[in-house]
């Protein structure tokens, strides 16, 4: 087996048995990136020297018997996670030269466990988008077919994992930005429960919705990464004081008892949603049958406020964004327009030149919805609808352990196909937005392919802090789906 084919789990086994070194593993990924990155465009910034240095250090640790959860494992990070001394751009001109003075908590936890950081991956600017076409630096291509988008906003991370440029990656998910690109690229992605992972050092887009999570080759690797990044952090008061179980134990639950006794809810509103692609429906029905065969009891559930999810999300997220992004004023960090003579003009020119169009659109929507006279009609109403959506889920989980649904209504679309019509792009988020609105965890697991050979995933969502249910069902599904090809030929 070649180095780049190893999962985190199998690489750790070989590293600890001294069969391979982290230096060899890291060098193999760097060589692969060198060879194929021009075709994929997954990374904004590479840290070759840093990665090789960390790999050598990991090898010394392994030789000395100091082995942690991720010692020597090469990982890529979405370029919205602050990395000390490594440029963190958020895919935006406004932060093109921003070098954080600190690591985000998820990043420092990876480092403490011995991970090797390879570089920073491409994204839609400030994570606003569903295709990674909104990056100010490059368009990432889907490794399965380079005419198609990888999804977004964590498209660089998902493409890097699918192209096997790294063992695994971290992404962030505000409305589907881990699960949708994972689905489009044929890899596993988890959006943990809101509060499960500290957001400290995650550059804020919509603070009540943002969450960091793993993008990996298989479910076991997601469990391994989730073990490392989860937990309360005094630097993020919204991180939950909830015990973190050993998530890899979920896999044993499957080994011991298959999926017998688990109940899955199928939301009737999702399958009657407009514009669902027949190929997605086919993969979904196949997945449903497989889970039934594995012992899952299926039942129809109702999420009656589904029709309002997109509208409520595209008020709440832009409102929070308009507030969060006010900080890019050209004073403390980031780009500044130097042609302006007075302060207001400097703010305006800095923001207008520094932010791309989608970011500006969302800032304007958010500012509008929060402005005098419109607050009750938009933000107030949207947050009440959010309460109703959350209640829909609480009620549904009285009768099921997880909810099964498609991830996106269609497989990946062609690059450039939707860039002119933001609303159409927003509507593709219909199945993923709810988990963020309700604060619950969701997983995307590869489930099949379209006739064009593009991957299609399925989504499972569970009760707050019950990632174990997702990992157990996801692992059982993955073990039995029997996909013909797990990774694209580059």
């Amino acid at each position: 087996m070649e180095y780049h084919e190893l999962t985190i789990g199998s690489a750790l086994d070989r590293l600890t048995r001294h069969e391979i070194s982290s230096f060899e593993l890291t060098s193999a990924f760097l060589a692969r990136i060198e060879k194929y990155e021009g075709r994929i465009g997954a990374f904004i910034t590479m840290d070759r020297d840093g990665a090789l240095y960390q790999a050598k250090k990991a090898d010394q640790d392994i030789a000395g018997g100091r082995i942690s959860a991720l010692t020597g494992i090469p990982i890529a990070l979405k370029d919205i996670l602050c990395t000390k001394g490594i440029r963190t751009t958020c895919g935006s001109q406004i932060l093109e030269n921003f070098i954080p003075q600190y690591d985000g908590t998820a990043v420092s936890k990876l480092k403490e466990e011995g991970a090797v950081i390879l570089g920073k991956t491409n994204l839609d600017e400030f994570a606003m988008g569903s295709s990674t076409e909104n990056s100010s630096f490059k368009v990432t291509k889907n490794p399965w077919n380079q005419e198609y988008v990888p999804g977004g906003s964590s498209g660089g991370s998902a493409a890097a994992v699918a192209a096997r440029f790294c063992s695994a990656a971290l992404g962030t998910d505000t409305g589907g930005s881990i699960r949708q690109p994972a689905s489009h690229c044929g890899v596993v992605g988890i959006k943990p429960t809101y509060g499960r992972v500290s957001r400290f050092g995650l550059v804020s887009y919509a603070s009540s919705l943002d969450q960091i999570g793993p993008i990996t080759r298989d479910v076991r690797d997601s469990a391994i990464l989730l073990n490392v990044i989860s937990g309360h952090d005094k630097l993020d008061s919204t991180s939950a004081r909830v015990d973190v179980p050993d998530f890899t134990k979920a896999l044993d639950l499957f080994e011991k008892g298959s999926l017998k006794g688990m109940k899955a809810g199928i939301p009737k509103e999702y399958l009657s949603a407009e514009g669902i692609d027949p190929e997605v429906e086919k993969v979904f029905n196949h997945a449903k049958q497989l889970l039934t065969d594995l012992g899952v009891e299926m039942r129809e559930i109702s999420l009656p406020h589904t029709e309002y999810v997109v509208a409520a999300y595209y008020i709440i997220a832009p409102c929070e964004a308009s507030s969060n992004l006010a900080r890019y004023d050209g004073v403390k960090y980031g780009f500044r327009d130097r042609s302006s003579k007075d302060l207001i003009e400097m703010y305006k020119k800095t923001k207008s030149k520094g932010f791309g169009l989608e970011v500006q659109r969302r800032i304007i929507i958010g500012t509008y919805a929060l402005s005098a006279g419109y607050y009750d009609a938009y933000y107030g109403r949207a947050t009440k609808v959010r309460t109703l959506i959350t209640e829909d889920f609480s009620k549904a989980f009285e009768t099921c352990d997880f909810i099964l649904s498609p991830v996106a209504p269609a497989p990946a679309f062609k690059i450039g196909e939707k860039t002119d019509d933001p609303l159409t792009m927003y509507l593709t988020d219909i199945f993923t937005l709810s988990a963020n609105m309700a604060g619950i965890p969701g997983i995307s697991v590869p489930a099949g392919y379209s006739s064009k050979g593009l991957p299609i995933g399925i989504q499972m969502m569970a009760r707050k802090f019950d990632e174990m249910a997702l990992l157990r069902a996801g692992y059982g599904f993955e073990r039995n789906i029997g996909l013909s090809q797990k990774f694209p030929d580059l």
Partner: protein, 95 residues
């Protein structure tokens, strides 16, 4: 709800954005389409529904206020686009 060009200009000013003239029409059209879609929210029955607490979904979070060492101005101001020793430099504010 459709939004007018002058409203977009007013909101852009509040957000400290400046939309170039050749992009304005398209921006107004796209925002209009989005807001028209969002008007769907008016159909939702929210009578008596409480505001979602959003991020503050748990209890208030307290911690001891313990002073820690500051990294100092050389670190704090490292990313400043313009500085004069330990100060940020901004364009003239008072006219």
């Amino acid at each position: 709800m459709k939004i007018s060009k002058s409203e977009v200009e007013k909101i852009a000013h509040l957000a400290r954005l400046e939309i170039e003239d050749d992009r304005k029409e398209k921006m107004v059209e796209q925002l209009g389409n989005i807001l028209q879609y969002i008007d769907k929210l008016k159909d939702a029955d929210v009578d008596g529904v409480s505001l979602s607490p959003g991020a503050a979904m748990m209890n208030n979070v307290f911690r001891e206020d313990i002073p820690e060492a500051s990294p100092g101005p050389s670190v704090t101001l490292a990313n400043a686009p313009e500085r004069d020793d330990d100060f940020y430099v901004v364009p003239r504010i008072v006219k």
